[in-house]
């Protein structure tokens, strides 16, 4: 019996503010509270609340990870969304997935730092939801054999990775696999995922408009045991507006799938009920970002590398929480100068419009941090 798994990433960074040089040594508040609140409030009301209500009302099973840095902000905002999430997980339909508290790149440079951030996230999830996750999803699906080893040691059972072109040229992504660290490994089906998250409302797409029956048929025609549809939670209501019909699409999807005998599942329940198709080794780091599916979205240019090195050099300081909040991958994403379509994606998400300003504000802040806490 074929299954489909929806996994959603719920994350918003604490964006840093346009921090001027004259403030160095004087002002130690780095984050852009107004902007973060403005963006987050919009997303909560346009996406998080309607989507979570949708999940609850429709008994829609899925796996979800929520970054710690976002949870902090939800608590500060005292938003009703937190209770909705709690309700959903209480229902037992949803699976809560682990990650790094700071949605950081720690996995690529420091195993200890990486582990600490994962454990801190676990503690947070236990405190808020009373749940200890068994599935792990690293920041933007950053993955390698080595990363899976570290995660395995922390007691996880399942892990997610991107089904990159290279991987799927050798393995059908629509099965459960085993990592070299012996975790259950799930590969994202990026084409079917992107049909929803990117292309759904694209009127120049030849499949537009996409209805649940057609999509269910595609799923049906796709060979394999499990279709892994991993995407941002903001897809629903924010990237794809309510008016596009995205919620109606999701609403009709389960019953259209049922016509083919296909059921929805969560990662862990599928993992427990199904055998492995085999072991996969992925030595070079991959991710789900940009068309390159590597680290180049965050460390692709000199700005990003210099800023990252500077941040790393401040390890061992007197304000670890702030330092770690400056590790959130988004800060580096804003410094990207890639061309083409990706550039537009980067720009859309870039609150400073310019990668150069993102770099200048970030390094200004690090200079102050260094003076103040190192």
């Amino acid at each position: 019996m074929k299954k489909i798994i929806f996994f959603f990433e719920v994350h918003q960074p604490r964006r840093i503010r346009p921090y001027r040089r004259y403030e160095i040594g004087k002002a130690h508040e780095y984050f852009w509270h107004d902007k973060n609140k403005e963006i987050l409030s919009r997303i909560i009301s346009k996406s998080y609340i309607p989507m979570t209500k949708f999940l609850i009302e429709n008994n829609f099973p899925c796996s979800i990870s929520i970054s710690g840095i976002l949870l902090e902000q939800l608590i500060e905002l005292n938003s009703p969304i937190l209770d909705l999430f709690k309700d959903y997980f209480k229902s037992g339909l949803g699976e809560l997935v682990g990650e790094t508290y700071y949605h950081s790149l720690a996995s690529i440079w420091d195993d200890e730092e990486f582990s600490n951030q994962i454990k801190f996230q676990e503690e947070t999830l236990i405190k808020i939801f009373g749940i200890k996750p068994v599935t792990f999803r690293n920041t933007e699906l950053i993955y390698s054999d080595h990363i899976s080893e570290v995660v395995k040691k922390l007691g996880y059972k399942n892990i997610l990775a991107e089904g990159t072109d290279e991987v799927i040229s050798k393995y059908n992504p629509n099965y459960k696999y085993t990592s070299v660290s012996n975790l259950n490994l799930f590969l994202r089906n990026y084409r079917l995922s992107d049909d929803i998250s990117f292309r759904f409302s694209n009127t120049t797409w030849n499949e537009y408009p996409l209805f649940a029956d057609k999509y269910a048929k595609w799923i049906h025609l796709t060979p394999g045991e499990v279709i892994n549809l991993f995407m941002d939670y903001e897809t629903f209501g924010e990237h794809q507006w309510k008016e596009t019909g995205i919620f109606e699409f999701m609403k009709h999807l389960p019953k259209e799938l049922r016509k083919y005998g296909i059921e929805l599942s969560t990662i862990n329940s599928f993992a427990e009920s199904s055998g492995s198709k085999g072991q996969i080794s992925i030595q070079k780091i991959i991710s789900w970002a940009d068309t390159e599916r590597d680290l180049s979205a965050w460390l692709g240019n000199d700005l990003q590398k210099e800023a990252f090195e500077f941040m790393r050099s401040l390890k061992g300081n007197k304000n670890m929480h702030v330092w770690r909040s400056l590790q959130t991958s988004d800060h580096f994403y804003y410094m990207s100068t890639k061309h083409f379509s990706d550039q537009e994606v980067h720009e859309y998400f870039n609150p400073y419009k310019s990668p150069y300003l993102a770099f200048i504000y970030y390094t200004n802040i690090l200079e102050d941090f260094q003076r103040t806490y190192c």
Binding site: R20, R21, Y22, N301, D302, L303, K305, E306, A307, T337, S354, P355, Y356, L357, F359, I360, T363, N364
Partner: protein
């Protein structure tokens, strides 16, 4: 085939101001499409072969003595325009294209007389040239005459378009923005190295319009923190002495006035500087920005610089915000990655401003009438 009559003012190699460079680059391309008469003031020595017809207007007879010497510029322009109208060769002309206020009186009169469609280009307005200090009313009036007579108005940036809309009576739909190109050969630097040079450059006339004062103010703010940096002002102009008096404390120690520089020297200065700063009060286009970018140099430009609106890989500030300009300079001095990324991405971006595109866009305008 209908002809195009171009009312011009200068042409390299005689005069190589921005208008001259524009005229040459544009019409040597358009000459393949139309028979072009280019009207210019009489010069004694032009013997180069151009692909268009040069029509020299000798208006010295309008004065009792040599025009080069004593009359003021405004009078020379009037005399040139008068002679232009008299000597204009109407035969088979299908369109007139007039460049800047210095040709607008003639353009308007010729249009009145022959009812030929008129395109005018603003390479700058009186508001730019005066830096908003005492713009000359008589010139603004001539610019308004040009606007009133024109069928299409070309501006070199949306920035200039906005100035027209704000300060003149004119209709938005009549205005088309067409960017200039940059002369790659003159400024291209292969593989600039981005090691710290501790040198920041300003290149432009020393007039209020270009904002050299703000360059010096920013320089002083940087120097108060870091005395290793050299700031170079390349260019001449009436503000020189005043500027020197502002720079006084650091003059010839950290702040240097180069005076006139050749293009070769300009390229050298671009290549050897960590940043090029143009804090223009009002700059319709700002070709030096593209030139410095082609040389691989990071840019800090004011918001009031036309070309800046079309560029992503530069740093932008208000011209008066010398705190911010100084901060940008310090960041550039401090972080090689910032210099390199801005320099390299900027070079690539600037190289797309080619004169073929300018010609194509101008053809598009002509096509409305021919």
């Amino acid at each position: 085939m209908k002809k195009i009559a171009v009312l011009g003012w200068e042409l390299p190699p005689i005069f190589t101001g921005g208008l001259g460079i524009h005229t040459l680059n544009l019409y040597q391309r358009l000459a393949k499409f139309y028979d072009i008469d280019l009207y210019l003031p009489y010069f004694e020595r032009v013997h180069i072969n151009y692909p268009f017809n040069l029509k020299f207007i000798d208006f010295r007879g309008k004065f009792s003595y040599s025009y080069e010497s004593s009359r003021d510029f405004y009078d020379i322009v009037r005399a040139y325009n008068e002679a232009l109208v008299e000597k204009f060769d109407m035969n088979n002309v299908g369109l007139i294209h007039a460049h800047d206020w210095i040709t607008f009186i003639a353009a308007s009169r010729i249009k009145q007389k022959y009812h030929i469609p008129l395109v005018i280009t603003f390479h700058s307005t009186e508001y730019d040239r005066s830096g908003n200090f005492y713009p000359q009313k008589r010139i603004i009036e001539i610019e308004q005459i040009g606007i009133d007579s024109a069928d299409t108005i070309i501006t070199v940036s949306n920035y200039t378009k906005c100035i027209l809309l704000k300060n003149y009576k004119c209709a938005k739909d009549n205005i088309v923005t067409i960017y200039n190109g940059v002369e790659l050969e003159l400024f291209y630097v292969t593989n600039k190295d981005y090691n710290l040079k501790n040198q920041i450059i300003y290149f432009g006339r020393l007039t209020p319009q270009k904002g050299p004062k703000f360059f010096i103010e920013a320089a002083i703010k940087v120097l108060n923190q870091n005395e290793k940096v050299k700031f170079i002002l390349a260019g001449r102009g009436e503000e020189m002495d005043k500027l020197k008096s502002i720079a006084t404390e650091y003059l010839n120690k950290n702040i240097f006035f180069e005076g006139f520089v050749s293009l070769k020297r300009a390229k050298e200065l671009y290549a050897k500087s960590d940043a090029f700063v143009l804090p223009a009060v009002s700059e319709p286009f700002g070709i030096t920005v593209l030139e410095a970018m082609v040389a691989g140099t990071p840019i800090i430009a004011s918001k009031n610089t036309g070309v800046a609106e079309a560029l992503k890989n530069i740093l932008i500030s208000d011209f008066w915000d010398t705190d911010l300009i100084a901060e940008y300079i310090i960041s550039l001095l401090k972080y090689k990655a910032l210099r390199k990324q801005l320099g390299e991405q900027g070079k690539f971006e600037a190289m797309k401003f080619n004169w073929d595109r300018t010609a194509l866009n101008t053809l598009e305008v002509y096509k409305r009438y021919l």
